[in-house]
């Protein structure tokens, strides 16, 4: 199977998200109440080390396994859009206590209620596709 490597990285990701407790609704609630450094430590470390590795990959002009150079497709800057979209996402994130990655991990952990959250997320994505032409981009 061609995508077995992605499945393997996904398994590692799932274990990391569960063992780091980043999938916990309680950790997200605690983060938004600024009552622990835990989540900030995780995200901060990931960004700093991630930025260092991305910089190194670009600097050494490393080619990926697909033969491409490492880069990032920049989005057009539209402050209204980014703030509005981010705020809508944040409202949902804090309510259900998980963002898309952890949703899958929690489902695997045995929380079947996540099926409703995933259904809602797919419905939200579909609704965006219907109304996108009325939104600032």
């Amino acid at each position: 199977m061609k995508n077995l490597s992605f499945l393997t990285v996904g398994v590692f990701f799932g274990i990391v998200m569960a063992k780091s407790e980043a999938v916990s609704w309680f950790r997200i609630h605690e983060m938004f109440r600024f009552e622990s450094f835990h989540m900030y430590g995780i995200i901060g470390t990931a960004v700093v080390l991630g930025a260092a590795s991305m910089w190194l990959m670009k600097k050494t002009k490393m080619t990926t396994l697909r033969g491409t150079l490492v880069g990032y497709n920049p989005m057009n800057l539209n402050i209204k859009r980014h703030l509005l979209a981010g705020t809508i996402f944040g409202l949902g994130w804090a309510l259900v206590g998980c963002c898309p990655g952890p949703m899958y991990v929690l489902l695997g952990s045995g929380y079947t209620i996540i099926l409703l959250i995933l259904a809602g997320a797919t419905l939200g994505t579909f609704t965006y596709g219907l109304v996108m032409k009325y939104l600032p981009h």
Binding site: F6, G90, G92
Partner: protein, 198 residues
């Protein structure tokens, strides 16, 4: 030297909750691996792929895509699901998630007991709130999921794409999106959520 004993103590060692620095470094490793494999680190596009696979391309061109091109991403999240299963069944820590005493005290004031709230005792989801028997729980799960899905697609990315990948590439749009995540998250946690459960 007894290998069996060493293996079980290794499992015990991994089973304790991971320090934030170890966790953060592991997430950076996932980003680096996905980049090396020539793909981006983004999860929310799976929802778009589901819409597309269900035929949403008939009503909006936005969903006209080749779902086969997204199979690597689907494989990644199936892996995440398996990883969650492994972590909960074979690497479960003996204690529930150790959130701060302040948060525990606050949650008690709005009627959410911790960790008794969680039937499984691992403290990932307050099942007293989110369960199939509670209409408000069902509405909150679907509604909250809806906001996550809508916001992620409108913003062209979620936490993995913007807060981790985008920031690691010094993208200003990602930074503004993350600021939005916090505007919404703070408003929900401090103003709307206490009202919803009150």
């Amino acid at each position: 030297m007894n290998l069996a004993v060493n293996a079980s103590s290794l499992v015990q060692f991994i089973s304790q909750p991971w320090h934030w620095a170890v966790s953060g470094a592991a997430i950076a490793l996932v980003l680096a691996l996905m980049t090396w494999m020539g793909r981006s680190f983004g999860v929310s596009t799976t929802f778009k792929a589901f819409c597309s696979a269900a035929g949403a391309g008939k009503v909006s061109d936005f969903f006209k895509m080749d779902v086969k091109e997204e199979m690597w991403r689907i494989a990644f999240v199936i892996g995440g699901l398996i990883g969650g299963y492994i972590a909960t069944h074979f690497l479960q820590s003996p204690e529930p998630v150790a959130i701060s005493p302040e948060t525990v005290d606050y949650l008690a004031t709005i009627g959410i007991n911790y960790p008794e709230a969680d039937a499984k005792g691992i403290g990932f989801v307050p099942t007293s709130l989110f369960n199939f028997e509670s209409l408000s729980g069902i509405l909150m799960a679907v509604g909250g999921g809806f906001l996550v899905g809508f916001g992620a697609r409108y913003g062209d990315g979620c936490t993995s794409g913007h807060a981790i990948s985008g920031l690691a590439h010094f993208q200003l749009p990602s930074l503004i999106t993350v600021i939005g995540f916090f505007i919404g998250g703070l408003a929900m946690t401090h103003f709307i959520f206490p009202f919803l459960v009150g």
